[in-house]
Structures are given as structure tokens and as C-alpha cells.
Symmetry: C5
Subunit: 96 residues, 5 copies
């Protein structure tokens, strides 16, 4: 999985019908220090993530292993909202 | 998924027969500001996208989860046409 | 899919037996202007492509969705030979 | 697979329910000399790896081929803890 | 597939049990001129490859389409040993 930060939303009315009702979030990748890496992805939200939240993104066929995305043409999903992470015992991020 | 802009079409008469009737679009990746990133992909069109439109592209096995692409040797599909997106409440793109 | 140019062939006698009879082609990636990007891949030929031809390459599990590659340890396949492509109405490539 | 070094842990309470009980590890990629490459991944731990250990990471659908990760939205798994590796007969790493 | 050169071996005693008996090889990617590109991968050996040999590597789910790797958490496999390759009729590599 990749660490990412939800920064926005994408609206698409005309789409494969199996995608109706899904929410597309614009997510920027962050590194273990919490800094944006320059990469980004549009991911379906499976957990109710909101703007500014740090999340985990699963990609590829694994992005279809949620109730929301099963058998749909979706290659990236937000499957967890990050509470915190630490490196070598030092907390690098904690959600407010 | 990746944001992309449809810029052209690819014609290929001689191909795996399961691909007959599919439309191959040349799509350039764009970043959240709408600028081209330098990357591109040839994607099957599953939603009737046209030149100049901003779209979402699903890749890998997820590209085969549309009616048009199921069980076909296709690793990239246009599965949505983008109406708009916003970052931090600021609209970055809206389709004319 | 990626645009590529067939530049050579790879011979491998000792291989997983399910691959017997398949032809491995050396393919260099090209960009929408037809210029080589520096990337390359070894792909199984499913359509009778020859040296110098521009082709489409499907990768990942999609590379196994041809008659030639089904259930085989193959992650890249030539599934179409390109006749032409255009960008913004301008023809960028046409096969002789 | 990629060589990686476990450097930390990620906590995520709100997640797809099938992920309950899994442990998310922050892993930095290392090259054959054991140096960090700058890349990283968040991987589910399937083998009881701990901080500082060198591990192998499998990604994509292969990350779901462990007892811990089967059918779950997980695209990276620690499936082995590295004891040692050698290049050209020279040992490059041995676990203490 | 990617061209690679087998440069070493990785030993991992503690691993997902389905991987018992498999051999992990350290493989450096090479370009069509046979030069190392700087990339590398740890791949399961399905064909009896040895140090110094040039090989083909399949990745992703395709890496599980060999007798050795089926249903295992393996995302890269050596599925062929390269005898030779040519570009434009010029032999670039031949195994001794």
C-alpha cells in the first residue's frame, strides 16, 4: 500500500455503470516523513475518508477486494484511514 | 485511476480477434493542475470519450472489468469522463 | 497499452514448458511522436509481428488473454500491429 | 520480490473490515548492497517481521496469496524474512 | 518480460510455508545492449538458472503461472534462460 493524503474530489457523471455511486478522491502520495512525493492517484473511497486525511491506498486487482469495488473497473482504493505511524519508535504522524 | 486527456486515436487492423470493434485512444496523463506529465497510454474507450476530453483511466486487470473489455488482452480502459475536480474547495477543472 | 517498435528477437531454449513454441520479441517503447523513450520489454508475439513494425503491447494479467498466452508465465504480449495513429487530426504515423 | 527493511508501523483503526487484525509495516526498499533506494511501501506482515529486519516483499495480486491476506484489499505483503544474501560468492548481508 | 542477469542468491528460512523449497535469485535488469540498468528484482527460479546467466523474468500474476510458483506469494519468476538475442540482425548476446 501507499501512504497518501486526500486533497480533493473528482466528479464524473458519464462512466461505466457499475461505478455508479462510488466516490472518486484525488490523493497525493506522501513519504514516511509525511511530505508529498509529487505522485498522485484517483482512488475510490471505501471507508468514508475526507479531505486532509492521511490514508492507505491499495492498487491493482487488490483495489477490487472491497465491498464497494468488487468486480468494478477500479484500480485504486482507499481501504484505511491512518491514525498514526512511527519510525524507529518516533511518531511521525498522528491524526488530530 | 489516473487522470488523462484524450489526444488521438490508434488504428490497428491486425489484432487479437477478441479486440475487434474496440476503439483505441491515445491518452496523455495530466496532473491535478491539468498539466500533461509527459506520460501516456493507449486505452480502450468504454464510455464514448472524444478528443480533448479529460478522462479516468483504469489499468491492469481492472481494465478488463467493463462490458467492452472483459476477457480481452486490454490493460488500460477509459471508464469515466471527468466533469470536474476540485482541490481544497478550489475548482481546478470543469468541462465546458 | 503501450506503443512499441519491434527491434529484435530473443531465443531461449530452456524455459517453462508451457512457453514452447512462443516467439519472444524485443520491443522498444515509443512515444506519441514515434520516438523511442528508452524503455523496452520482451513480449510474446500473438499476431505475427515482424521487425520494424509498430505494435501495441499489453502487460500484466491482460497479457494472458490471448490464445497464445493463456495460463502461461507471460507478462507482456503484442496483441495488435499498428496501422496508424493521429493526434489532433494530424497523422503521426502510418505503416508503409 | 523486492528487498526491504522494516522501519516502522502504521496504525489504522478505520479500515475495510476484512483487514482487521492485520499488521501494517512501513518498509523501505534496499538495493543489493543493502542501501536504501528512496522508495518505500506499507506492507502487511505475514511472517512476524520486526523493526530493523530485512525482508522480501511481494506486491500486486501475489500479495494476496498468504493465509493472512487472501481476498483482502492488500497489495503488498512481507512473505519472508531474509537471513542472508550473496552476490558472486561475496556475502552482502547476514542477519545477526 | 524483462531481461536480467542472475548475480546472487537470497536465503530466507522464515517465510510463508507455501514458499518452502523455492530458490530466490537476485537478478539485475539489463538493457538490450546487455548493460545493467540499475534495477533489480528477487525472483523465484523455475528453470534451474545459475549465477551469471541471462534470463527472462515475468512479474505480477504471470509469475504464478509456473509449476513452482502456482498459488504462492511470488511476484517475479525466472521462466526462461536466454540463449541469445539479436537487434536488426546483429547478435547482441550469445550464451557461451
Amino acid at each position: 500500500m501507499n501512504l497518501g493524503k486526500v486533497v480533493g474530489t473528482v466528479v464524473a457523471t458519464r462512466k461505466e455503470s457499475s461505478l455508479d455511486g462510488l466516490k472518486f478522491m484525488l490523493v497525493k502520495h506522501v513519504d514516511p516523513e509525511g511530505k508529498e512525493t509529487g505522485g498522485q492517484v484517483v482512488a475510490v473511497d471505501a471507508v468514508g475518508a475526507g479531505p486532509g486525511e492521511l490514508v492507505l491506498i491499495a492498487t491493482g486487482s487488490s483495489a477490487r477486494q472491497t465491498l464497494a469495488t468488487k468486480d468494478r473497473p477500479c484500480d485504486a482504493v482507499i481501504m484505511a484511514i491512518v491514525d498514526s505511524w512511527e519510525i524507529g519508535g518516533t511518531e511521525k504522524y498522528r491524526k488530530d
